[in-house]
């Protein structure tokens, strides 16, 4: 008999719900920014727990309806419990717990970062550990060895800004609206990487990341070259940031001997980054995997996917597990 898992994600700005059939068949995947846009005509969700409270019921209902199911056919419910904005987590998590209690089905708490790793499995159902995973988003930059499903070793992390945050902030420095990471990529397409921005932590053997110094380098360059083409600055910044990522992945491959590399998170949608790692894979002989864009950015399908696996491996979570603003996968105890 098929399992139908409802996933709920409210760790940051998006209110998201999704229904998964078995391990990898996505029956519905509703994310508030698109949902609100189509239903209420262009209202941008605001950064407030109140927005999640307004959206959680309609978004969840829409996910169950779009899957062609009733609430009574659900077999489990999974929700993000960490890391994220506490006020936001405290909307989706208790909602999911209450739903599980009232429907008398298992509840599973999921780490948001773990969700991003399971996004790879949604796209590539045959994927099995071990593999190297890089989670690159607006709030997170993590390099992990996935030793088994739900079993991780942290290899590196950012020391300051997250990768997506760096893209968004440099976009802002170039006069693009926030969050402008995707717009920066478009702008870069019109330019050439003629400026040599230093690749952070290149002359070390760390697997950590740093983006703050690169942001400052762009700031200085703009001040000292007011006539420089923004397109070229964007292309040059992107080149340095991507080089940093590929450099760390190459280091991690050399140190771990893994032969599969997966990237996810919003930055993983960057086409230049995808092409570059793909080339690297041909050179070093690793398989490169990346989810489609709607599974890269925050979504609930990935939370449901991780939840189903956790339920299988460890059974349901207790209904009293707390929401936590910070949590790494190394100390993953959900």
């Amino acid at each position: 008999m098929s399992e139908f898992c409802l996933g709920i994600e409210t760790s940051c700005d998006e209110t998201a719900a999704s229904v998964l059939k078995d391990q990898t068949t996505v029956l519905s995947n509703i994310v508030s920014s698109q949902f609100v846009h189509s239903r209420y005509g262009g209202v941008v969700p605001e950064l407030a727990a109140r927005a999640h409270i307004q959206l959680i019921v309609p978004v969840t209902k829409a996910a169950v309806e779009a899957a062609g199911l009733n609430f009574s056919s659900l077999s489990c419910v999974a929700a993000t419990c960490a890391p994220g904005l506490l006020g936001a987590l405290l909307v989706g998590l208790p909602f999911a717990k209450a739903l599980s209690y009232s429907l008398n089905i298992p509840f599973v708490g999921v780490n948001h970062l773990e969700g991003h790793i399971f996004a790879l499995r949604l796209e590539h159902p045959q994927l099995s550990p071990p593999f190297l995973a890089a989670v690159l988003s607006g709030g997170h930059t993590e390099l992990l060895e996935v030793k088994g499903w739900c079993c991780y070793r942290q290899l590196g992390s950012t020391l300051d800004d997250a990768a997506g945050e760096a893209f968004d902030k440099v976009a802002k420095l170039l006069g693009l609206p926030y969050p402008g990471g995707a717009l920066l990529e478009e702008l870069a397409r019109e330019g050439k990487p003629t400026i040599r921005f230093p690749v952070p932590l290149q002359n070390t053997d760390t697997m950590d990341f740093s983006f703050s110094g690169l942001k400052t380098a762009v700031l200085y360059y703009r001040r000292d070259h007011p006539d420089a083409r923004h397109e070229d600055i964007a292309a040059s910044f992107q080149e340095a940031a991507i080089s940093e990522v590929t450099n760390r992945i190459t280091r991690a491959i050399a140190k771990t001997d893994l032969n599969t590399v997966g990237i996810s998170g919003g930055v993983a949608s960057n086409q230049v980054l995808r092409d570059r790692i793909s080339l690297l894979g041909k050179k070093y002989g690793f398989r490169f995997l990346v989810p489609r864009p709607e599974f890269c950015t925050d979504n609930a399908a990935m939370i449901a996917a991780a939840g189903i696996e956790r339920l299988k491996l460890f059974g349901p979570s207790r209904l009293n597990i707390p929401a936590r603003a910070r949590s790494t996968l190394a100390d993953n105890s959900v």
Partner: protein
């Protein structure tokens, strides 16, 4: 008011460490300065000076990060707050009254909420370094 010039990120971190020595529980420090002016860098030093051993990362995305040093350290970043009503639910005032030290980036976005005792730090680019003004 005191004015300092730092020539590198390492010097900005050092200044933060020294500044931390004068901080005590319930202090609120507000940081002002453009993107890349060194707010998070200085806060790395302050947190270190307050006994935080973890890597201090930019909290722009998560808005508030709590660290445990000799006292609790609340690192708050209002960069993504564009409208005052978006501050609802973050309970900033509760952090100001908690038994810890509050360090707030982009503090101008919550100016009206800042307590009277707030210490203001302004950072700006100066040559290849930073000019940093620390209030009373």
């Amino acid at each position: 008011m005191a004015v300092f010039h730092t020539a590198s990120a390492a010097e900005t971190i050092n200044l933060g460490r020294r500044f931390a020595a004068r901080l005590k529980v319930k202090d609120v420090v507000a940081f002002y300065g453009e993107l890349g002016s060194g707010k998070t860098t200085m806060i790395k030093g302050i947190a270190g000076g307050l006994g935080v051993n973890e890597v201090v990362k930019s909290p722009s995305f998560v808005i508030i990060t709590e660290y445990q040093g000799r006292v609790p350290v609340y690192h708050i970043d209002l960069y993504r707050i564009s409208k005052p009503n978006e501050l609802e639910g973050f309970d900033l005032e509760e952090y100001f009254e908690a038994e810890g030290v509050c360090l707030i980036e982009w503090a101008e976005r919550a100016e009206s909420l800042l307590p009277e005792r707030t210490i203001r730090v302004r950072l700006e680019l100066a040559g290849k370094g930073r000019r940093i003004e620390i209030g009373e």
